[in-house]
């Protein structure tokens, strides 16, 4: 059974799990999807890529930032059947650039997956320097495996 007490201006409530089982009737304001100020995820409401998304870590701002942006934009806007298959060149130059900075973009030793591994590892590698949740960056590089592999 929950109870409540007051210590001066501070109120303290102890609640049991049962007390909190009923759904809350607290009213929250609807989120405006077009709120210009709100931080958006990787993709902005207008469809563009949010290069400043914390999820990208330092990818868009590092020494290979330009190559990364080119490659990723190309992939994002690609209308090919195999998405991004027209962006091999961009990914290749990104790969080349990243190889110049092994400390920033640690490469995998596996040769086969080198092209995709590079791209794959790049976002996750930067977790050693800044952090990323594993969810979103994985999805994007994973998809890039297709053009690289083919």
């Amino acid at each position: 059974m929950s109870y409540c007490k007051q210590e001066g201006k501070d109120r303290i409530i102890f609640v049991t799990k049962e007390d909190h089982e009923a759904p809350s009737n607290a009213e929250l304001i609807e989120d405006d999807p077009n709120d210009p100020y709100e931080d958006h995820g990787l993709i902005l409401p207008n469809g563009d890529i949010n290069w400043n998304c914390p999820c990208l870590g330092g990818m868009a701002s590092g020494p290979c930032g330009q190559q990364f942006k080119d490659a990723f934009s190309c992939f994002h806007y690609s209308k090919e059947e195999v998405k991004g298959s027209d962006c091999v060149e961009n990914f290749r130059s990104m790969q080349e650039c990243m190889q110049k900075y092994p400390e920033l973009y640690p490469q995998e030793d596996d040769n086969d997956s080198a092209p995709s591994g590079g791209a794959d590892n790049a976002p996750t590698a930067s977790t050693s320097t800044d952090s990323l949740p594993t969810s979103s960056p994985d999805s994007t590089p994973a998809a890039t495996e297709n053009p690289a592999a083919s």
Binding site: G8, I12, E38, G41, N52, G58, T127, L132
Partner: protein
């Protein structure tokens, strides 16, 4: 103009004195006159005009005498100054020097100087004379300007005055430094004449620039270019070749901490090819501070102190540096590297800011012009007056904790001494106390923490929670002394003696003072920026802008929060958020402070909390608690979420929806009164302005949403339900 100013400064007291004298005389004579008039009136104005005339003459004589005296004094002072100046000149000339140029320059200077304040002169010409390398650079008249010039700063390098009013650009002067060949000689033009008349206006000495920046400058220069000649090169600095200071940086970030780095990243992300220059006083590349008082102390790795790497709870290792050195471009290359980059100039302090001229001056005299500038200077730890007054021996044994070197030094000291006292009961003090307390059992170290409040985090947490926290800190091996106001500190018998106001006496080997942060606002004066009187720091608007091209972020920014009002926040996440926002606004975003930053603290493995908004213990609070189980500790939180530091999982996460998490088995509830986990709401006028998540983690988005809504909720228990505190 500065000449006039200094002249005026000299004359002003004089003028004031003489004017007050005049005034007093006037009043006296007026009074006398008045009285006389009265008397005269009564006496039917027998000697009215005559008497009045007599009074007047006396009055005029007095005034005249004072003015004359003032004039004489002024003349004497100024001519004395001039004499002194000339003496100094000749003295300098007689010093051994390298090139004929120097002498020439100096001679010119001496010749052309008329009466003027001498304060700045010697330094300027001194610099001229300090030529250790001769070069084939045009000599001559660097310095006619001195006639009117406001040579305010000493420059170690060759100073070249230039008109700043008309054309706020300077051409790089190529000098044969030891490093660069004088390849781009064309840049060096010797053209004295145009300088002379132009020079009537303000000019400033500029630093010598390296060859690389000729292309940069030429793009910037106008047709009415102001060519300069460097009479002498500067001696190569022991710390760094002055020639590695770029002359111009499109984005200049003053300060090399968290806010600055976040801004740099933001700018680079939004402006392709941006060239960002960070100028920092510290000798380290940008790094994050929280681990210095948390994780680095708990590391098992003996090399951690050196490498500043630490293993997070989940085993992933990382460095406190945001990026390894290879991420950065060298300052010398910044202008020419193809896709731009971020360069860090370490060990340099910006001492002067010319807002109208869009340039800054460094401590070594170099000048850097900018298009957009961010001030992210953070602050310096405050010290207790009693310690400052206590003398050298006490100061030597006191640590003001902020930087990497403070961490290293304290770490070393903690292994050497027998007793440490920490003064301060806030975040830093409590975290350090817990960190040192943990060591105390291993190494036989006595750790005492003392502060004026009634409990740890007394200014942040409501009293009941602060008391509970204090108990936990005590369990970490710290002897906590509450209600302790330090009266004085002395050094006696190789020990520090701390005497409290209530008479208690403590003896220790070392003191750590964690009593707050003084925001660094040194540039406010030269830049003409407003400093906030309530919170300290530079006053900026909701978009973090101080004036047209200047933004301020991080600890030093007192900004307007649209939801919560004007505030200044000294937390890591705020530095990241505000730095990122400033970077966005510097690249044209025009966004106000919107995303509420959070902060967190861990006091040992059992007590951890995250908080957001205004968390001030003087506000009324409502706390909703459940009992904590073994699963509800900071350690568990990081293990579960699979990320390292909680700050990372919070700030680096993609903006997500409010999803209530559900896990398998809920923990059993016990009826004991224990503040295991819960959520505390801080209210201002019935609106929730701050929330503390007590041992519940990964719920920050919900908390942020509630604050953003700014609604008045009738029943906060209902709001608390949104947090699902009983589940993981």
């Amino acid at each position: 103009m500065f000449k006039c100013k200094t002249v005026w400064n000299k004359l002003a007291p004089l003028a004031r004195a003489s004017s007050t004298l005049c005034l007093q005389n006037a009043r006296k004579s007026a009074l006398r006159h008045g009285r006389r008039l009265e008397m005269v009136q009564k006496a039917q104005m027998s000697s009215g005009p005559a008497g009045g005339g007599g009074e007047n003459t006396l009055y005029y004589v007095l005034i005249g005498a004072t003015c004359l005296g003032a004039g004489v004094y002024a003349y004497r002072t100024v001519s004395e100054d001039k004499d002194r100046y000339n003496e100094r000149m000749t003295e300098i000339v007689s010093r051994p020097k390298q090139g004929p140029q120097a002498a020439e320059a100096v001679a010119e200077v001496v010749a052309e100087s008329k009466e003027e304040p001498v304060a700045e002169e010697p330094t300027l010409t001194e610099a001229d004379v300090e030529s250790t390398e001769s070069e084939p650079i045009a000599e001559a008249p660097v310095t006619k300007p001195i006639v009117e010039e406001p040579v305010t700063e000493p420059t170690v390098q060759a100073s070249i005055p230039e008109p700043t009013v008309e054309s706020p650009i300077r051409e790089p002067v190529v000098e044969a430094s030891v490093i660069e060949p004088v390849a781009e000689a064309p840049a060096v033009t010797q053209n004295e004449e145009p300088l002379a008349p132009v020079v009537e206006s303000e000019t400033e000495p500029t630093a010598v620039i390296i060859a690389e920046h000729v292309p940069e400058a030429s793009s910037v220069s106008e047709s009415a270019a102001v060519p300069k000649a460097a009479p002498a090169a500067e001696p190569v600095e022991p710390t760094a070749a002055p020639s590695d200071v770029p002359e111009h940086a499109p984005y200049l970030l003053i300060g090399g901490g968290t806010a600055s780095f976040a801004a740099a990243r933001s700018i680079r992300a939004r402006d392709p090819g941006a060239r960002v220059l960070i100028v920092t006083e510290e000798s380290d590349l940008p790094y994050m501070r929280p681990p210095l008082s948390k994780e680095l102390w708990f590391s098992d790795d003996p090399k951690a102190i050196e490498t500043l790497h630490f293993k997070q709870w989940n085993g992933k290792e990382r460095s406190i540096y945001f990026q390894p050195p290879s991420f950065y471009v060298s300052p010398a290359d910044l202008a020419k590297v193809e896709n731009g980059g971020v360069a860090v100039l370490t060990g340099r302090k910006v001492v002067h800011m010319d807002v109208r001229g869009n340039k800054v001056k460094l401590s070594d005299g170099a000048e850097i012009s900018y298009e957009k500038c961010l001030i992210a200077t953070g602050g310096v730890p405050r010290n207790l007056q009693v310690i400052e007054r206590a003398g050298e021996e006490v100061m030597k044994r006191t640590t003001l904790f902020r930087k990497i070197e403070d961490f290293r030094s304290l770490e070393k000291i903690s292994g050497e001494v027998k007793s440490i006292i920490i003064i301060g009961g806030g975040f830093l003090g409590s975290e350090l106390a817990c960190a040192l307390g943990r060591r105390s059992t291993d190494v036989g170290l006595e750790v005492i923490q003392m502060f004026p409040e009634k409990g740890n985090m007394g200014k942040v947490l409501p009293e009941y929670l602060s008391n509970w926290t204090t108990e936990k800190v005590r369990k970490e091996g710290v002897s906590v002394i509450t209600d302790a106001v330090v009266k004085n500190v002395t050094y006696k018998n190789d020990k520090l003696e701390i005497k409290l106001k209530d008479g208690r006496l403590f003896k220790t080997d070392h003191i750590v003072a964690a009593v707050g942060l003084e925001p660094s606002v040194d540039l406010a004066k030269s830049a003409g920026l407003e400093v906030d009187s309530d919170f300290g720091g530079y006053r900026v608007n909701a978009e973090l802008q101080a004036c047209s091209n200047i933004w301020v972020a991080g600890d030093a920014a007192c900004f307007y929060d649209i939801k919560l009002g004007r505030r200044r926040v000294e937390h890591h996440d705020h530095a990241v958020v505000s730095g990122r926002l400033a970077g966005e606004n510097m690249t044209g975003a025009s966004k106000p402070y919107w995303h509420q930053s959070m902060f967190w603290s861990d006091l040992g493995p059992d007590v951890g909390y995250e908080a957001i908004g205004i968390v001030d213990s003087s506000l009324p609070t409502v706390g909703v608690f459940a009992k904590a189980t073994a699963k509800d500790t900071p350690k568990a939180a990081t293990e579960q979420s699979g990320t390292g530091i909680r700050s990372e999982s919070e700030t680096e996460a993609v903006a997500g929806a409010l999803k209530a998490k559900t896990t398998a088995t809920p923990p059993p509830i016990q009826q004991k009164e224990d503040y295991g986990k819960g959520v505390i709401f801080y209210l201002r006028d019935q609106v929730v302005v701050g929330i503390v998540l007590w041992n519940v983690f990964n719920r920050m988005p919900i908390a942020r949403k509630i604050i953003k809504d700014g609604e008045q909720h009738a029943d906060l228990n209902e709001v608390a339900k949104l947090f699902n505190i009983h589940e993981d």
